[in-house]
Symmetry: C2
Subunit: 418 residues, 2 copies
């Protein structure tokens, strides 16, 4: 069987399993999640041995340290997977929820029922814990899943797949509801994204190159996250204490995350007052500053930003700073250079805050809060399969609800159309 045939077989099995998953009770789905957690606990040593094989192969192949770190399944990480499964089990099941049921003049009652999407394909890289995260979210939302992890994690993922399969069977759910692609052949990805008969949505998690390629070639909807070029705008009417805290936190809390601020915008009226102290704080934390002309006049240590800086996601201790004339200039800068991910205004002015929320075209818009809050857990989704920078279907952090859709339900008493 070649790779395409193999993937089609997985697809057919997933489609079949998705029907049973769609009507599975919350009770059964939760039982499966807890059973998977128990399997992981009881196979801890097997998992660590499988992971040790991946680590050894990675070292032999000269995998860089950062990737090796992401690949490793430590006891703490196994604990986190187990906790994650318990947490997803405790979330409210979105499936079957009926909303907006109201009577129409014809006598029929019309509402919406939340239903699973069907089959979700997830493509990710080295971290094997994504296997459990993705499986648990798909399972809880009543979907079947096909998981394609990185080839460097194949042994770990195989061992985790065993836990998932056993857990599903314990709960009486189809073992093929979650399938881990058991080949490192790269053609598997190409097949997975081009079988619309079997896969309803693709969620890629990984580098921008991977995601761009998948978006270009996929024949189904891709829930994707590209750049996170996030902004904080310190307005003329900002509380400068809040502004300083937020600007420091949004940049330095973590450098490598998509909701980290990459560009700070400051209203010209407060730039002189706030920027020198703020710059000193950044320098103390070894953050490199790249400023516009006006910023460089004010901050002697700032480098001159190029046009490209405004369009760059550094994912590093580097910050670009621009002084702007007013709110309009800030909004214009954000909508032009941002990635429609997360942007925050710091202001005490009601009208300007309201305008920022309305006019900034990003998946998360904030007033007086750090961009670092743009996250499924912080938003109360309970878990997150990714952050969407698209406008279609799901926008911003995607939790269980983003893996569902709504169908119409009509309750009648024999009504016919006149």
């Amino acid at each position: 069987m070649n790779v395409t045939e193999y993937m089609h077989t997985l697809g057919q099995q997933a489609r079949q399993a998705s029907r049973a998953m769609a009507r599975a009770s919350s009770q059964d789905k939760n039982a499966a999640l807890l059973a998977i957690a128990a399997e992981i606990e009881s196979r801890r040593e097997t998992l660590k041995q499988a992971n040790a094989n991946d680590m050894q192969r990675g070292r032999d192949n000269g995998l860089e340290a950062a990737l090796l770190d992401r690949l490793e399944l430590t006891d703490a990480r196994i604990d986190t997977m187990v906790e994650g499964l318990h947490q997803v089990a405790s979330l409210t099941d979105p499936v079957g929820e009926i909303t907006d049921l109201s009577y129409r003049p014809s006598g029929i009652q019309v509402g919406k029922m939340r239903v699973p999407l069907g089959v979700i394909g997830i493509i990710y890289e080295s971290r094997p814990n994504v296997t459990i995260e993705a499986a648990s979210l798909c399972l809880k939302s009543g979907n079947a899943a096909i998981l394609r992890g990185g080839s460097e994690a194949i042994d770990s993922n195989r061992a985790l797949a065993e836990c998932i399969r056993a857990g599903l069977q314990t709960a009486g759910l189809p073992a093929q509801a979650v399938q881990v692609v058991d080949t490192t052949d790269r053609a598997a990805v190409g097949a997975l994204i081009t079988m619309p008969d079997y896969v309803d949505v693709i969620v890629p998690r990984g580098g921008k190159g991977l995601i761009e390629r998948i978006s270009r070639e996929a024949q189904v909807t891709v829930i994707k996250h590209l750049d996170g070029i996030c902004h904080v705008y310190i307005d003329e009417f900002a509380d400068l204490g809040k502004a300083t805290n937020i600007a420091i936190n949004a940049k330095t809390h973590r450098y490598g995350t998509c909701n980290t601020m990459e560009t700070l915008l400051v209203h010209q009226a407060v730039a002189e007052q706030i920027l020198p102290d703020l710059a000193a704080a950044y320098r103390a934390l070894d953050v490199e500053l790249r400023g516009c002309e006006r910023t460089c006049t004010l901050l002697s240590h700032a480098l001159a930003a190029t046009e490209q800086d405004w369009d760059t996601e550094y994912l590093a201790p580097i910050l670009s700073i621009a002084i702007v004339d007013d709110l309009d200039a800030a909004i214009d800068h954000i909508n032009r250079h941002g990635s429609h991910h997360t942007d925050s205004i710091v202001t005490e002015n009601y009208t300007l805050a309201r305008r920022f929320l309305t006019e900034v075209d990003s998946s998360s818009v904030m007033v007086n809060a750090s961009t670092r809050f743009a996250d499924g857990f912080e938003y109360g989704l309970g878990a997150e399969i990714g952050i969407s920078t698209d406008k279609i279907h799901a926008r911003g952090p995607v939790g269980l609800e983003g893996l569902t859709s709504q169908k119409y339900v009509v309750l009648g008493n024999g009504e016919i159309r006149k």
Copy 2:
């Protein structure tokens, strides 16, 4: 300027206009809708003259009678367009609605705000009134639109475009918020569906061939409607009076609509009781019956259905009938042969009704109501841009809300991430 360049220019202008539309007040958008209605009223003779040119050209080109009928702008149809504009103006504006705003443990308040999608491309065939319907829905939902009508309606559409442009300008909104493609070159469609930088969603309205081609080639999401193979299932516990009324109405109220029943499923326990009278009623209305083996034994006049019949959208006075063993068989038939559009069960049994609603995977699922109710107006959406048979983004009748998306809003008081 070649067609691709021309379409890119339209796209750039639409993107630009979409920013102003996204922040336009409900008042201004409604004023534009009413101004367009007034323009249509005052240019009624000009419109009819332009349409007469299209009709003459159509007759000269041997356009078939049905298409000529759809092309014609009568006074009654012009009245309907004007009324439609008033109706859309009276609908609640979906843009800016904030829902689910609640506090999180960190202190931030998180909610969702409804926002326009951006630029909508609409591709349709001969009916010029779609120009006004589509323009009004896009405008009200804060989107910019690029409308590509049929070449046979080009003069009518040009004249309507003038009304729209004048109305937008009267209301102080950008004239380029709604642009009608002013070329009959077929390459315009190819360009429209492959410029993701300028167009966010495509809504094709027309024959299945058109829609399939667009779905295959589009580089953005397509809100599409393919087949409408709808079912009514008369259950063992049906009220046979309701069943008869619904079965007649769902098939014969109109033959050419997507929510018309194409296959009737009858539980074996009630087939003998209900089918002979029902068949007589259909025959009196000249509906051709094609039955399964058991049906043909019962109804001497029924033709034998082939496997293909179960997968066919007749759009004609033809009905296929299958007698099934039980609810499971009915659901299985519907999920296998249906088009996931609209399906209805007739039953007085609570548990079976609940199972049908949950397990039938269609955009509208009904109990004791005619499938003909699957319609934006009947559902209370106020208007409808189409019916989606997809699961992603919008499912079932798509009204103003389907042309919007939700972004997250975060209201804080200086919170930072710990």
